[in-house]
Assembly symmetry: C2
Homo-oligomer: 157 residues x 2
Amino acid sequence: MPDDLLQTSATLQPGQLLARGVCRHLRAMNFVCVEELVPVRGLRVDVMALGPKGEVWVVECKSSRADFQSDHKWQGYLEWCDRFFWAVDGDFPTDLLPNETGLILADAYDAEIVRMGPENKLAAARRKVMVQKFARTAAMRLQALRDPTAGFGAGFG
Amino acid sequence: MPDDLLQTSATLQPGQLLARGVCRHLRAMNFVCVEELVPVRGLRVDVMALGPKGEVWVVECKSSRADFQSDHKWQGYLEWCDRFFWAVDGDFPTDLLPNETGLILADAYDAEIVRMGPENKLAAARRKVMVQKFARTAAMRLQALRDPTAGFGAGFG
């Protein structure tokens, strides 16, 4: 089984542990999640969440001040979602984060939405593209896990 | 890890082995697949495939004449897809199958489209519902596999 598809605390990076907690919380809100989704070449979002009414949220997970400050692409994510959030742990200096974004406090086990990201609704055509991309990414990875001997890539490449 | 999510020849039923071969072949055609998807309460399709342009195909896998003859619901699947196919193995009496449907010859390892199912394009609103259902089902199962300790169901219930 491809190791990069299985989540264990030993193999996950700090940002991936936050993502796991975020996905658990969003799942409890009836959102489903895919991690490390590529909306367009050159961009990779940490978590894309799809809500029960087709809502598209993006969550970027930052494990430290340096991790945040080295991200020069985040504004490029805004146009691919209805709402954008940062996910950070309790030690993160949240004053650094721009006000007009959502904020999630997370650890490896759970998360909490502290500030809802403002809504900027996707146009219908782009929402369609994103939901389809989400569907394809999730299904490819699921197949790679369920049927590993078929030799398909896991889509994390 | 939930056993019903992992595919091994030892645990799969004959129809599920055909589905595995079908999904492998469709993946090579750049379609992604989800098995046992429920488009609406009371219906469960063996394979739903999503194409690169958003095409929605349904494949019903029949391991024997009795398996086919006991299916009284298949015409209900037609309204949920652009194209409908049967998947059967080389021993199946294909004369039994209605002409106006697609035909795939499959085994546990691969498959081949023998007759393309006629196209009846979904209305846009229904396609949207189906793609979103596909996305949610795939992502829930992926999360259940990747993060089993979170205790979410696998969506096969």
